[in-house]
Amino acid sequence: MDDKNHPNPLTRRQFLVLSLGAAAAAAVPAHLTGAAPTPMAKAAASAAELESFVQLSALLTGIAAEKLAPAVDPVNIKQVYFDLARKESGDTFQQLLSIFDQNQGKPPDEIAEIILTQSGAAVGNLARTLMLVWYLGSWYAPRDPPQYSNFPSSTVVSPDAYTQGWVWRVAQAHPMGFSPLIFGYWGQTPPPLSDFIVPGDQS
């Protein structure tokens, strides 16, 4: 969401200074402070942001980061969602990542409380949009929760995003029209939920 749409518009720097203090401001990546980053620094910053995004996503969805983004990741849907969030919600997305980074040492419930209720409507709504995109593979424009009762419009991010929607796996099922399961799976008890969302199924 653009700053002009924020209920209490702040520039990126103002927000950081006011809410996170000077120490937080010092930790802001170079590309946000106006200094020209080197290509390597830019790549490192981007990789760090992507990692933050995955950890944030794990917090928001309740699904292990290793499941959302395996070390050897054939689909790499995390990058698709990361790029989409940055494109659609630029500054708010950076703000959300910064808030998450600054609070990573706290208990998950406390971080969620900060993001969803204490950081402004734009941040909270974007967090909800991220939950939806991970679960449904569709992008819902961030908006206040009451508006969701009106069947808000959404966009399926891509065919791969549809198959990667976590709602199917949390239901221990598969998307309509696509299944990686072998013939006859419908006659068998599905694996436990933990196999889908908790790491360690390599045993």
Binding site: P74, P180, G184, D195
Partner: protein
């Protein structure tokens, strides 16, 4: 990629009436002749003339091992980078028994390892079958020769009409009756094991592929000895045998125990061939003289026919079951002049001619990646109304695969094999996943323009993905059949 479902009906199977007990004795007799490696063939003596004079006891019945230990696994490590020069000794007759790679354990590096593995396998399987020479060192033009895998069992020799017992490994090729007179009169040209190519339609009946001369592309499917022995010894070649089979249908796996000692495991190969016409230069293809068998059909009405054709290899799937890749490793190769990529078409960077693309032909005249209109009758050549397939590769090769291809092609320079390229290798990134039996394959989509012409793309469940498709394979009893559709061809016994 998908291995097409097709059937050849043979009215007089080679081993009709052979008593299974005699067959077991025969296998026991040759137990000591097991090949030292999967790429080494040991012909068996003729079978039907042998009859034991004394009934064998239980202790003497020792079938050949389905997946015997070998000592010549190729364990050559991949290069550090795709464009690293390769040692001349990289080419070998020995194939990898399993996937080996050098760290790091990243997606790109693993992909390089699998692609390198695919090229080593390609080199081993395409080595001359009639000598100990390396790939490209055969006695024919451009170092060509009949290859190792062309001596393997073709699918129709295993799944026989009425569920008859197939002939043992090493027996001469089973020739359909309609081809027998031709095979006899051309025996000197065809050799002991001529390929019999009968399939012209791609998977899911999506259509045939028509070359620039209006000829149908022909397809063949072959399996190696461990895969054959698994089907044979477990009597999975008919529906009764499959019904009686109590175990899981899991084909033998390739693995390395230590050093070069290990097990080859099951390998299946699907090939595509174009007829060599006046416009083709056979010195630029691996060629063979094959029997083109057309089974009879009522709808559309097609007469049974057989013809002898010189054909050139244009596509090759190589699929290998290994211990760490229970979803198999799926490699696919093509002739370099098959078709341009979409990117090459877009920037008009085209060769003068292709096997399946006509530069300069307007899309209204030459529709892209569209099957020909029905009826499809391979006896009518050239295809009516001057139809030729206009094929474009929708997913370009990665730069890493292109670099690796360049490295291997330089080793094969001056031979027919320099005209072949790896498209990619699909492998399971999570082979032991409890929730995804396909093992989370990568790349997600993989198609060969001659074998999955009409299902290229990146649409889940619609576009070609080897493991996603073959994960649906079953036998005739509705059981999962370990990523191969071959058991589904088994017929009922009378």
């Amino acid at each position: 990629m998908t291995i097409v479902k097709g059937v050849i009906r043979v009215n007089k199977p080679f081993l009709a009436g052979l008593d299974r007990l005699f067959l077991i004795v025969l296998l026991a007799a040759v137990a000591g002749c097991a090949p030292r490696g999967g790429a080494t063939l040991t012909p068996l003596p003729p079978t039907v003339t042998i009859a034991p004079t004394v009934a064998p006891t239980e202790t003497t019945v020792v079938p050949v091992p389905i997946n015997p230990q070998v000592t010549n696994c190729n364990i050559t490590p991949p290069p550090p980078q795709p464009n690293s020069p390769l040692e001349p000794g990289t080419l070998s007759r020995d194939i990898p028994c399993a996937f080996t790679f050098a760290p790091p354990d990243t997606l790109d590096n693993l992909q390089l390892g699998f692609d390198f593995n695919s090229w080593l396998t390609f080199a081993g399987l395409n080595a001359p079958a009639d000598s100990d020479a390396l790939i490209g060192q055969g006695s024919g033009v451009g170092g060509d020769a009949p290859t190792v895998w062309e001596q393997w069992k073709e699918h129709y020799e295993i799944m026989l009409p009425d569920g008859k017992t197939p002939a043992a490994w090493g027996t001469p090729r089973l020739i359909p009756p309609a081809c027998q007179s031709l095979a006899t009169s051309s025996a000197a040209t065809l050799g002991k094991n001529p390929l019999v190519l009968s399939v012209v339609v791609q998977p899911f009946d999506t259509g045939p592929l028509i070359d620039q001369a209006g000829e149908y592309v022909l397809y063949g499917i072959s399996v190696n000895r461990p895969m054959f022995e698994f089907l044979f010894q477990n009597q999975l070649y008919n529906q009764a045998g499959q019904a009686n089979f109590a175990g899981d249908m899991l084909f033998p796996q390739g693995s390395v125990i230590a050093g070069t000692t290990g097990f080859i495991g099951a390998i299946m190969v699907k090939s595509s061939w174009k007829v060599m016409g006046p416009q083709d230069d056979p010195s630029q293809f691996h060629t063979t003289t094959a029997l083109m068998y057309t089974p009879p059909s009522d709808n559309p009405k097609i007469e049974e026919a057989c013809a002898q054709k010189t054909v050139g290899l244009v596509g090759l799937h190589v699929v290998h079951k290994t211990q760490t890749e229970p979803q198999w490793i799926w490699a696919t190769f093509e002739h370099v002049r098959n078709a341009p990529t979409q990117a090459e078409v877009d920037r008009n960077s085209l060769l003068a001619d292709y096997n399946f693309y006509q530069p300069g032909c307007a899309e209204t005249v030459c529709p892209i990646n569209q099957p020909p209109p029905r009826p499809w009758n391979p006896n009518v050549i050239p295809f009516p109304h001057n139809f030729t397939s206009q094929v474009i590769r929708l997913i370009s090769l990665t730069s890493e695969v292109s670099d690796l291809n360049t490295s291997f092609q330089s080793l094969l320079k001056g031979t027919v094999w320099e005209n072949y390229m790896l498209i990619s290798t699909q492998w399971p990134t999570d082979g032991k996943s409890k929730t995804d039996p396909t093992g989370a394959p990568f790349p997600v989509y993989l198609a060969n323009t001659t074998l999955e012409t009409y299902s290229q793309g990146e649409v889940p469940q619609a576009s070609s993905s080897c493991m996603d498709c073959h994960g649906n394979a079953t036998d005739t009893q509705g059981r999962a059949s370990d990523f191969t559709f071959i058991p589904q061809r088994a017929e009922k016994t009378p």
